[in-house]
């Protein structure tokens, strides 16, 4: 029981920090809806703080006073953050696609590099690459809708994820005949080059963009606290960028060593 309570508290930590007098689930839904609408972090923080202030003074719940969180968030008509508006689908998607392509090339080359043989890429592997690429494009294209669905329907999202993953792995098992044979070291060099270039590009894009700094901020909140929150979000973003190269290097090394030994 305590475990569940702790989990719930952790899940709603954001709402509890910004609006301790508001039902955490209501606050979370409210923030999510405004985020999906592209509102700025300080506007969202101010709107939530006002709800909290009213609930604290009146002793009423947010549901009683403001109605459903989604409807109230929509009724405020908060302006879209200009930094969010400047985002482009192409510059958001291309570096990630480059990272994925580079990683796949490296992994495909690994057994050949280890065994000193040509790298063979099966039709199943090419299909996997195509599927993952399509998923990345679809997620970036309809980012708000996908994020909203995942946040509101967690169980259904997990089921969909497992089904998609299974349908991705299936062709890899069925279509194992080599479709293409290439020089393994060359494939490795090209893959590493593409992955490195895409990672640098994504790092530069992330460092320059300002919407990563658009964190939730309450009115009257200390500037130091907001800066700390910004740094934490930046760190998480850099972790996301460098996770793929780290995984690619580890996976390639493991596959190459395994092939060399056997």
């Amino acid at each position: 029981m305590n475990g569940i309570r702790q989990q719930r508290n952790k899940k709603y930590a954001l709402g509890q920090e910004f609006a301790p007098d508001v039902n955490p689930a209501w606050a979370e839904e409210f923030v999510l809806e405004l985020r999906l609408k592209g509102a700025a972090g300080d506007d969202i923080g101010a709107a939530l703080a006002e709800v909290n202030s009213h609930c604290a003074e009146s002793g009423d719940t947010a549901e009683e006073v403001f109605g459903p969180a989604r409807a109230y968030a929509a009724s405020l008509n908060l302006p879209v953050n200009p930094d969010q508006e400047s985002r482009s689908f192409v510059s958001d998607t291309l570096p990630t696609m480059g990272q994925l392509l580079g990683m796949m090339l490296m992994i495909w080359s690994a057994p050949g590099v280890g065994a000193g043989e040509p790298a063979s890429v099966s039709a199943g592997m090419l299909l996997i690459f195509l599927f993952i690429g399509l998923i990345i494009v679809a997620v970036n294209w309809k980012a708000a809708a996908v994020m909203g669905f995942v946040a509101r329907h967690r169980t259904a999202s997990i089921v969909i994820f497992v089904v998609v993953l299974a349908s991705l792995l299936l062709p890899a098992f069925v279509l194992q005949e080599p479709a293409v044979e290439l020089l393994a070291p060359m494939l490795l060099i090209i893959g590493a080059g593409v992955l490195a270039a895409a990672t640098v590009l994504e790092f530069l894009r992330s460092s320059r963009n300002r919407y990563t700094d658009d964190v939730l901020a309450a009115p009257l909140e200390e500037q130091q606290k907001i800066s700390r929150r910004r740094r934490a979000v930046r760190r998480a973003d850099y972790l996301r960028i460098f996770m793929m190269p780290a995984f690619a290097v580890a996976m390639t090394a493991a596959l190459a060593i395994t092939a060399a030994i056997s």
Binding site: A49, E50, F66, A218, L220
Partner: protein, 117 residues
């Protein structure tokens, strides 16, 4: 007029803008205080889902200026202060509302055709 009255929603929507401007004309105040004064004045409870979007529209159109102040032993409060544009809107709407209610009274007080005969 007692606040026990449940006024029709259409009437409330029509008059709320004017009444909130009038409350704000007495000096800077915050959302909960506005709703409490409207209720005490006889309008009955005004839902936050109606009041705050209206205040947000006032803010976006320049009728009010806002300032966050620390609360008295509680969370901070967002104070709304009427701007000159807000005062002008209040004067204009007050005049028009008076003309409108006068017209309504005249229609209601008119003797019907059957009684004329």
């Amino acid at each position: 007029m007692s606040s026990e009255h449940e006024w029709p929603g259409e009437w409330m929507r029509g008059v709320l803008e004017l009444c909130v401007l009038r409350v704000l004309a007495d000096g800077p105040t915050y959302g909960y205080e506005i709703s409490a004064r409207l209720a005490a004045g006889g309008l009955g409870p005004v839902k936050g889902g109606t009041l705050y979007p209206l205040l947000k529209r006032f803010e976006q159109s320049g009728r009010v200026e806002i300032e966050w102040r620390p609360g008295e032993g509680g969370p901070g409060r967002k104070y709304y202060a009427l701007t000159s544009q807000g005062h002008a809107a209040l004067d204009d709407l007050t005049q028009r509302w008076r003309a409108f209610t006068l017209t309504t009274h005249q229609i209601l007080d008119e003797t019907g055709p059957e009684e004329d005969r």
